[in-house]
């Protein structure tokens, strides 16, 4: 269970230690990539909690979302329109929704646990 957290910390350390400069015009892509990754991560957690988790969907969604967002941003840069805003908007909304669902599920579970704890001694 701690493996993903370890992986997250490892990735963070790697990113912080990496000192490659990218041109400023690609910073939009980076922000979108961050959003897409976070969205997919929370989506995966939600799916796990809702018992609908499928690793294929998760993995493909992760990479496909990132690529799609990057492609959208690329198109936007080339057309001179801030199309990456659409990706940010979509990912942001989804991120909030996912987090909200996770929160609700967790709340329900905690409630259930308390209920069960109260019930068991009686039974």
């Amino acid at each position: 269970m701690w493996l993903p957290f370890l992986g997250l910390i490892f990735g963070l350390a790697l990113g912080l230690l990496t000192n490659i400069q990218i041109p400023s015009m690609y910073e939009n892509y980076l922000s979108i990539a961050v959003l897409a990754a976070l969205d997919t991560l929370f989506g995966g957690i939600r799916a796990q909690l809702q018992q609908v988790y499928d690793d294929k969907v998760f993995l493909s969604g992760f990479f496909f979302n990132i690529v799609l967002a990057a492609g959208l941003a690329f198109l936007g840069v080339n057309l001179g329109i801030d199309l990456y805003l659409a990706a940010i908007f979509a990912f942001g909304v989804r991120l909030f929704q996912n987090i909200a669902i996770i929160r609700r599920i967790l709340l329900i579970r905690i409630d259930k646990k308390r209920h069960n704890n109260k019930k068991t001694p009686v039974e």
Binding site: G7, G15, A33, F62
Partner: protein, 241 residues
């Protein structure tokens, strides 16, 4: 159950492996963008510092350029002035040369310089003793004769005159003192040798005019001899205190 076995066998399941990869990637992206943002912040501060520096340098440059402009204007005006001076110099140069020549002539005349050059030598000698003559003044050289001679020489353009080797200046005085004449306090006996530097031809011609100085002198029984000299030297005036 199967899953659990599998996980035990290869340390973690495929699901966990995928999750790990996703987490690593997410972490990497987040960390990298954080790094990038920090770099950008630092770069921003550096940029602003550089900008301020640049601004100050630019102001300095502008000030320097203005100063340069002022200086070049000053230079132009000074050069203009110099040109004016040069022009006036060029115009005055001839006048200067004339003045220098004139000064030289005047110095010669004043006797401040040693005179040297072509000229004439005139010797005035008292006439031979004449027993017929009652008065010896009739045949000796008087200062008036010398005056006449000097005047004639000066008029004819003599640049320097000396009598018996003593320079005669504009301020010199000549006095008759019996058989001798006194020039500036120095007595000179006859014969009197008068030397004059100048154009010998002109001097001689003017002296030898009909009814001129020489005729008058001869009339007064004075022995006059004229001589053209290629090189006459005259001493400087000895200023006697």
């Amino acid at each position: 159950m199967n899953n659990k076995k599998n996980s035990k066998g290869s340390f973690f399941t495929r699901k966990q492996f995928e999750l790990l990869i996703v987490c690593i990637t997410t972490g990497f992206i987040i960390g990298y963008s954080y790094n990038q943002a920090q770099d950008k912040r630092e770069a921003g501060t550096i940029d602003s510092e550089l900008f301020e520096q640049e601004e100050s340098y630019r102001e300095e440059l502008i000030a320097q350029q203005e100063r340069n402009k002022e200086l070049s204007e000053e230079l132009n005006s000074l050069q203009e002035q110099i040109r004016k001076y040069e022009k006036s110099f060029a115009a005055d140069e001839k006048a200067y040369q004339k003045l220098v020549e004139q000064a030289e002539d005047l110095r010669l005349l004043l006797g401040e310089l040693k005179g040297e050059g072509k000229g004439v030598r005139i010797t005035l000698q008292d006439g031979d003793y004449d027993p017929k003559s009652f008065n010896p003044n009739d045949y000796i050289v008087h200062e008036s004769h010398i005056f006449k001679l000097l005047n004639e020489l000066k008029i004819s353009g003599a640049q320097a005159i000396a009598i018996n080797g003593q320079r005669v200046m504009a301020t010199s005085y000549i006095r008759c003192n019996g058989p001798v004449i006194t020039i500036d306090g120095t007595q000179h006996p006859a014969p009197f040798v008068i030397e004059a530097i100048g154009d010998a031809k002109t001097l001689l011609a003017s002296l030898n005019l009909n009814g001129g100085v020489v005729d008058q002198l001869l009339n007064d029984n004075i022995v006059v001899s004229l001589e053209e000299s290629q090189k006459l030297t005259m001493p400087k005036v000895k200023v006697e205190s």
